[in-house]
């Protein structure tokens, strides 16, 4: 088990190294950063001073090693646009994105599993068919459209929920949270639904399909022949077996939730990393873009690692094969 975890961790570091190369190469190929910092009428001598102060005159390998060593300590240089350390900017924005992503995932998991189980167990009811239809909409409508429709309905027409921003936030150390104030919670609702809707429909369809599959297996038939109650069979035996693939998908999707939050954050002017990234793209603020790339891949890789480990916790068969393989 430990060897398995270690091996996966080494693989993860390899992936991060590759991403680091890509992030670094952005500095080389996205034009001369000095031009972004200085104004048009800056003299060549002044440009050289800036270039030297940023270390851009060193040989490429030296720059790469320096960048990588810094990145490993979460130092991503200084933003061209804000003149502030990128890590500070990211740290300020990260709580907003993570809170949004977690709320969206929780929303997607809870409703996805409930609706999926219901539509598998009561396949022929009207409600189950309605869920199926709704899930089609959720899968096919683009995120920004759902966001705009929600804003139109609940913020503009009904005026129940704020149309943008995080509302009031409370500082807990360096972490700023919107979960503790009423306006913060209200502000979370629409972005979470917008961001989580796609995952919810995905999870619902997955749970439904898996559950129907599991209900056909021999051990469910045998559980019925043993006279277990319907509830024990459905929610004890069938659901647990259903959740194994759901954990994988939901876990892996958490990475894309964070990545996709760019769109949701733009629609709702949510002050998270995604919005920061979009602004950085508009201003060719390469340190922020590179740092965002690294952060998102770090999150992806970490999630993959955690899902792999979680998997073996849930499924005893994997524990055995993993133990044997290592």
């Amino acid at each position: 088990m430990l060897a398995f975890t270690l091996r996966r961790a080494v693989q993860a570091i390899g992936v991060m190294f590759a991403v680091g190369i890509i992030a670094f190469s952005m500095f080389r190929f996205a034009g001369d950063p000095v031009n972004q910092i200085v104004s048009i009428d800056t003299s060549a001598a002044e440009r050289e001073v800036v270039r030297k102060s940023l270390g851009l005159d060193d040989p490429v390998p030296v720059q790469f090693v320096r960048y990588f060593a810094d990145a490993a300590q979460f130092k991503f240089g200084v933003s061209y646009q804000f003149r502030q350390p990128v890590s500070t900017l990211l740290m300020e924005r990260m709580p907003a994105t993570l809170e949004l992503a977690i709320c969206a995932t929780v929303f997607a998991m809870v409703f996805g599993i409930l609706m999926g189980v219901y539509s598998a167990l009561r396949r022929d009811t009207l409600l189950a068919k309605l869920f199926q239809a709704v899930s089609l909409v959720g899968i096919s409508l683009p995120t920004f459209l759902i966001g705009i429709l929600l804003i139109y309905l609940f913020a503009v027409t009904l005026g129940w929920l704020p149309s943008f921003g995080r509302g009031e936030v409370v500082k807990l150390g360096w972490w700023s949270t919107g979960l503790l104030t009423l306006s913060g919670l209200k502000a979370l609702i629409m972005p979470s639904i917008t961001l989580g809707l796609f995952q919810m429909t995905l999870i619902m369809r997955l749970v439904r399909a898996e559950m129907l599959e599991v209900l056909r297996t021999d051990y469910i038939r045998f559980a019925r022949a043993r006279g277990l109650t319907t509830r024990a069979i459905h929610f004890g035996h069938a659901l647990k077996n259903t959740l194994i693939p759901v954990i994988t998908v939901a876990g892996l999707q958490f990475g894309s939730v964070i990545a996709f939050s760019i769109i949701t954050e733009t629609v709702f002017q949510w002050p998270g990393m995604g919005l920061l990234f979009v602004q950085a793209v508009q201003n060719v603020d390469i340190p922020i873009m590179a740092a965002y790339l690294l952060m998102v891949s770090l999150i992806f890789v970490t999630i993959n690692l955690v899902v792999d480990i979680l998997y073996t916790v849930v499924d005893p068969r994997l524990r055995a094969t993993v133990g044997r393989a290592t």
């Binding site: 022949a225 043993r226 024990a232 068969r317």
Partner: protein
Amino acid sequence: MTEPILSVRNLQVEFASRRGTLRAIDGVSFDIAKGEVLGVVGESGAGKSVTGLAVIGLIDPPGRIAGGEIRLAGQRIDNLPPEQMRRIRGKRIGMIFQDPLTSLNPLYRVGDQIVETIRTHLNLSETAARRRAIDLLAEVGIPAPEKRIDGYPHEFSGGMRQRVVIALAICAEPELIIADEPTTALDVSVQAQIISLIKRLGRDHGTAVMLVTHDMGVIAETSDRVAVMYAGRVAEIGPVQDVVRNPLHPYAKGLMGAIPTLAGDDKRLQQIPGSMPRLSAIPRGCSFNPRCASAFDRCRVERPEPLPRGAQSVACHLYDDVPAESAA
């Protein structure tokens, strides 16, 4: 004879399909007495397993019991509401399925599955149920049961898993066990162990056993009586020695002729020509008539009803004219 544990009368099971209703079981009747082992043989699709599932009330839609009655110790059970039938399953009727590899939930320890079943049916505390589970595992011949009880199904071999399945089937002391091809998925040496285990449990607890199989060898070794099924009907039923040594129905004769013997005659094994009809195309009259060497005109028109003949009972027109000895 005292009241049989299981009494099936004129059972009919139908499956609704797109092209009309298919009758998988058509007028099956048999009894199983306390402590008796009834073997049910026949080709694939003869309705053996469906009969077993009908008895335990697990025929899933689109299938349904269309007629007849099933009585367990005198109580009619084929028309019980689902919740009452659930209480009978596992408690009064235990079932063993064909494939032990897929019968157990892979995510739960075998002990948890046994304890869960025990506590569903018997009013026992967690610790008492666990003690009983260990005893059961010991009884079905699992070594070091107090250790193995915390194992997961994948940690058991096929034969051991079938023992666990049997422990699960008997954990509430049922009056009847339905074993649906319990040895088919196991290798031969393990088969013999499982068969003798089922036989011993039936004897020790006075449990009646309905043993569904296509293996005549298993039947001959285990059963007291045997029912030969063909195309959803019982062709012949009787004490196992009589049916094996002196089969009456031409189909039963064909089946017995197809068993290889060790007695060294190097004749080719007898085959029954043709194959069993599909449910959608059961011939008129006796369903066996197209394959039967002794079929005559009446067989193609009129369906034979089972008639007693000695200790056996046979559904064949060949025996209609001869007055049955036991019919008084």
